[in-house]
């Protein structure tokens, strides 16, 4: 009889412990779940243009391939921004940086939280940072070869086009957002980690192909998959 009581207590304790563990999981160090997936292009995207480089060829190379819609393997849309509009992004460990290297913006699409960004000139030739913003002040600042770093501030969420007039093919985007966001890779894949469990609105944005959003349910410790298809209009 005593054994049975002990066993029961143990069982109850075990169940309670398990329940406690299970209940604790979402708030644990692992964070919530993950949202992963792909963004695909349907229809035929405009073919990339080849621009002949006519100056600074020693650093810029002799040719640039410019794709307004960059399509990767399996029709994956490269450089689209996927964001969880109702989840705040984690605070970045260090200041974001946008590099101008080989007369290209690296990354071509930079996602950052409102605040400061370091703009680097690794090329050692004149670049100019010309932004087309409306919420933030639109700037056009020269960055000569000796000016290696310029710090700029973009306080308000907005997708900002950035270009260099000295090298007419140089285009990039700074996507300022408070939300959790990621950029699609060369296959059009993305992965958003530490998404709190629950239902979320996930939005994809591309400068040419526009926006699309979907609702996704995230379960603790699990990966929720979602894919988007953006139509390329010719």
């Amino acid at each position: 009889m005593r054994m049975r009581v002990l066993a029961s207590v143990l069982m109850v304790a075990l169940v309670a412990a398990a329940a406690l563990l299970a209940w604790n999981q979402p708030a644990g160090a692992q964070g919530g779940g993950t949202i992963a997936g792909e963004v695909k292009v349907t229809g035929s995207a405009p073919a990339p243009k080849t621009v002949k480089v006519n100056k600074d060829t020693e650093v810029c190379g002799s040719e640039k391939k410019i794709a307004d819609v960059a399509v990767g393997a399996g029709n994956g849309l490269v450089n689209a921004v996927v964001s969880v509009t109702d989840a705040k992004g984690a605070k970045a460990a260090k200041k974001p940086a946008l590099d101008q290297k080989g007369c290209e913006f690296h990354p071509e699409v930079l996602v950052m939280a409102p605040g400061e960004v370091d703009i680097l000139n690794s090329d050692g030739v004149l670049h100019n940072v010309h932004t087309f913003s409306t919420a933030n002040p639109a700037i056009n600042k020269a960055q000569p070869k000796f000016k290696k770093v310029m710090t700029e501030k973009f306080d308000k969420p907005e997708a900002i086009k950035i270009q260099c007039d000295a090298h007419s093919w140089m285009h990039g985007w700074i996507f300022v957002t408070e939300s959790l966001a990621a950029v699609t890779d060369e296959k059009g894949s993305f992965k958003l980690e530490n998404v709190p469990a629950g239902k979320h609105k996930v939005e994809v944005w591309h400068p040419v192909l526009g926006k699309q959003s979907k609702e996704v349910e995230v379960k603790p410790g699990q990966e929720a998959r979602v894919s988007f298809e953006l139509a390329a209009k010719k």
């Binding site: 002949k52 006519n54 100056k55 030739v125 004149l126 100019n128 940072v129 010309h130 087309f132 933030n136 002040p137 639109a138 700037i139 056009n140 600042k141 020269a142 960055q143 000569p144 070869k145 000796f146 000016k147 310029m150 007039d165 000295a166 007419s168």
Partner: protein, 751 residues
């Protein structure tokens, strides 16, 4: 007690005061001939006054007499004795060596008009009292706004380039023409004329003028080729309504329909609603209500900048740079940092000073209060201005221009790579294929730093330093305030940029062809040409014959010219941002042409646009890839190049850092009747053409000048070295005689 000045001193004082009043007190300044006439009259009056009685005369002459005779004034006598002959000698030299000037041409400004003209096969009575447009408005006053808007749109798309936004004859092509385009605000123009007269002038243009008005000089197109009858009447209506002038009525006997006058003009505008047509006379009054800015804007700005401020008025698509889009809040000329809105004063400054080198005129003629009202209204277009308090950027302390500063500026120019857009030598020739665009996607050319008079925000050193500091928002020009090595480098750069070109060009009206000996070099870079002075001629777009050129890239040509007994040669320098030669990636070649009459050039001149069937022209040409040639033309597009043996002209051209230099040399006499036979010592007409192939220039699409004068100078005479000494010697002789006579007379009269 101060002794009153003597009669002589009084007389001198009166003359000096009279001179100061004539020279500085009267605006506009009078010509020198009139000034000397007035001074002579003043002198006569003074002499009559001082010689009114013998006492006064003696008092007047006393100081002169004393100077001539008194032993104590020997020094002064000696000084004057040397100074006077020198002055006379110098005056004789300045007269003998006077610069040649183009001959003055007398022409009837308002010739007698015909009573009727044939317009596209229809007979139009120029003496009719009322124009169809006025009749329509009289019958239906609501149509006034329609005709006015149509006239305005036609005006800005056709007339603006020469006659100007302000109707004052100061359009951005005006400086290219002699005689200058008519100033409609001048009481001597349309206010003196009937609407029928204007119709005749607009429809038939320069070519339709009678001989006494030298039709060959006028660049006024015959608009009957382009505008309909109603359109011409609408433009005329617009001119009178906008200037507030009243057309003259030719036949007062007819019962005149009511027409707007200076008084009832403002009453009729109420009928028209949106359009406030305040005549000039009323402009001195301050705006009466807060809507004044809006009304002024609609009257003065909307035709280019658009009623909604988007920079999309009827004139916009033909203008480059485009009129500003006020809704974006992006302004080029600012004292504020990149990304900031301009201050009110920045906006006020651009409205007041205009933007040199563009179609934006200076609106200084508007009262200050009106300009401030416009500033307030412009800010309403962009929401960003609401609550914003833009502040001027902190520009480093000024550094005076010096050789060291200019040198440092050049180093910085290279270090920060201004050449990327402005070209190696700063002539606004970016690397080929640079494809610079403004924020609205319209093509833009970087400033040619050798032509500061085209700098949009002004050419003073402080203006250049400010543009470098704050950039030109909406254009590719960035701010360099924090992007130079040391803050003061901004000033070194400004000093360097300003060392590249003069404040303004030295527009010439006459090309003097110097006499030289020996062989004239064909190499445009030969040292020989550096010693020959250059004459600058402005080129403007050909906007008369299709295809028209509204924004030519070539705006000036520098010409040096020499001749020997056997040859005549022209050295041409012009800036072209791109070299284009067929076969080297360019679809069309760059070209230049010198235009002369044919034969001996006597009698009337050919039409300035390559002549016509009755009077052809002779052309000396250079063409990229083809070199120098000769041609005759009987109008645009009717050019016949000479072939083979007939081509006796030779020459070369080089292109370097945004600039062409070319030499075209030809025997003075060719024996070809179609060629121009350059006479020595006579004035003859010459005009210039230039085509920028990469901009699509070809045929009628070109930059052009009206006729200028050229003269082959006779070998320099020694006159200017002989006459002055003779004049000085004669003066010395007269002085000696005078002083001897005076002393003898004194001796006779006793001390």
């Amino acid at each position: 007690m101060v002794r009153p000045p003597g009669k002589f001193v009084q007389a001198i004082l009166v003359l000096v005061v009279a001179f100061l009043i004539f020279e500085y007190g009267i605006r506009p300044p009078m010509p020198f001939s009139l000034l000397s006439l007035y001074l002579a009259i003043t002198l006569m009056a003074v002499l009559v006054y001082v010689s009114s009685d013998s006492e006064s005369w003696r008092a007047f002459v006393a100081p002169l007499w004393a100077t001539l005779t008194e032993p104590g004034r020997r020094q002064l006598r000696l000084g004057l004795g040397v100074l006077l002959p020198l002055l006379v000698g110098y005056y004789a030299y300045s007269q003998a060596a006077a610069k040649a000037e183009a001959p003055v041409e007398l022409r009837a400004i308002h010739p007698a008009p015909p009573t009727s003209i044939s317009f596209r096969g229809k007979q139009i009575d120029l003496q009719a009292t009322d124009t169809p447009v006025r009749k329509d408005i009289a019958a239906n006053p609501a149509n006034g706004a329609k005709h006015f808007a149509a006239g305005g749109a036609l005006y800005v798309r056709n007339c603006l380039y020469c006659h100007g936004d302000n109707l004052d004859g100061q359009g951005h092509f005006a400086h290219g023409f002699n005689p200058a385009p008519a100033d409609f605000t001048d009481p001597g123009t349309i206010a003196q004329l009937s609407e029928g007269f204007l119709f005749w002038r607009v429809a038939k243009g320069g070519p339709g003028l009678p001989k006494e008005s030298t039709p060959w000089n006028s660049a006024m197109p015959a608009w009957e080729d382009r505008l309909t009858e109603e359109q011409i009447w609408q433009v005329i209506y617009y001119l009178y309504e906008t200037t507030g002038a009243k057309p003259r009525v030719m036949d007062a006997g007819h019962a005149a329909l009511p027409r707007p006058s200076r008084e009832d003009g403002s009453a009729s505008l109420l009928v028209r609603g949106g359009h406030l047509l305040r005549p000039r006379a009323a402009e001195a009054q301050p705006p009466a209500d807060p809507g004044a800015g809006k009304a002024l804007y609609e009257q003065k700005c909307a035709l280019c900048h658009g009623a909604s401020g988007k920079g999309d008025g009827p004139a916009a698509e033909l203008l480059l740079p485009r009129p500003r889009d006020f809704t974006a809040g992006k302004y080029k000329i600012r004292s504020t940092a990149s990304g900031q809105l301009p201050t009110d004063r920045d906006l006020f400054r651009v409205i007041s000073e205009g933007m040199p080198g563009t179609s934006m005129p200076a609106w200084k003629m508007l009262p200050e209060k009106d300009r401030w009202a416009l500033v307030a209204y412009l800010k309403d277009f962009a929401g960003a201005f609401k609550g914003a308090k833009p502040e001027a950027a902190k520009v480093p302390g000024e550094v005076a221009s010096s050789e060291a500063s200019i040198k440092r500026g050049k180093e910085m120019f290279e270090a920060i790579e201004c050449n990327k857009c402005h070209g190696q030598a700063g002539r606004g020739d970016p690397a080929p294929g640079s494809d610079l665009k403004d924020d609205w996607g319209h093509p833009v050319w970087p400033a040619n730093l050798h032509k500061p008079w085209t700098f949009r925000g002004g050419h003073e050193r402080k203006d250049v330093a400010m543009r470098l500091s704050t950039g030109l928002m909406g254009s590719p020009m960035p701010t360099f305030l924090d992007s130079v090595e040391k803050p003061e480098d901004i000033w070194h750069l400004a000093n360097y940029v300003r060392s590249l070109g003069p404040d303004r060009p030295n527009w010439a009206s006459l090309l003097q062809v110097q006499a030289v000996t020996g062989e004239i070099p064909l190499d445009p870079n030969a040292e020989f040409w550096r010693k020959i002075p250059a004459a600058n001629f402005p080129l403007v777009g050909q906007v008369i014959v299709d295809p028209r050129s509204f924004n030519p890239t070539i705006d000036m040509i520098d010409v040096r010219a020499v001749h020997t007994d056997t040859d005549v040669a022209f050295h041409l320098t012009w800036d072209d941002p791109t070299a284009s030669e067929p076969g080297k990636g360019a679809p069309k070649p760059d070209m230049v042409a010198l235009q002369f009459p044919t034969g001996a050039g006597e009698g009337e001149r050919p039409y300035f646009l390559m002549g016509d069937g009755g009077k052809p022209v002779y052309l000396l040409t250079w063409r990229a890839g083809a070199g120098v040639g000769e041609a005759t033309a009987a109008g645009i597009g009717k050019v016949t190049p000479q072939q083979g043996e007939a081509v006796q002209a030779k020459g070369q051209a080089v292109y370097d850092a945004g600039q062409y230099r070319a030499v075209i040399r030809r025997p003075v006499k060719t024996g070809d009747r179609a060629d121009f036979a350059f006479p020595v010592g006579e004035f003859f007409p010459m005009a210039f053409w230039a085509w920028d192939g990469s901009e699509g220039d070809e045929g009628a699409r070109a930059a052009v000048t009206s006729w200028y004068y050229v003269r082959l100078e006779a070998p320099a005479s020694t006159r200017r070295f002989v006459i002055p000494p003779i004049a000085a010697l004669v003066t010395v002789g007269l002085e000696l005689g005078l002083s001897r006579w005076a002393r003898r007379r004194r001796d006779r009269q006793g001390p």
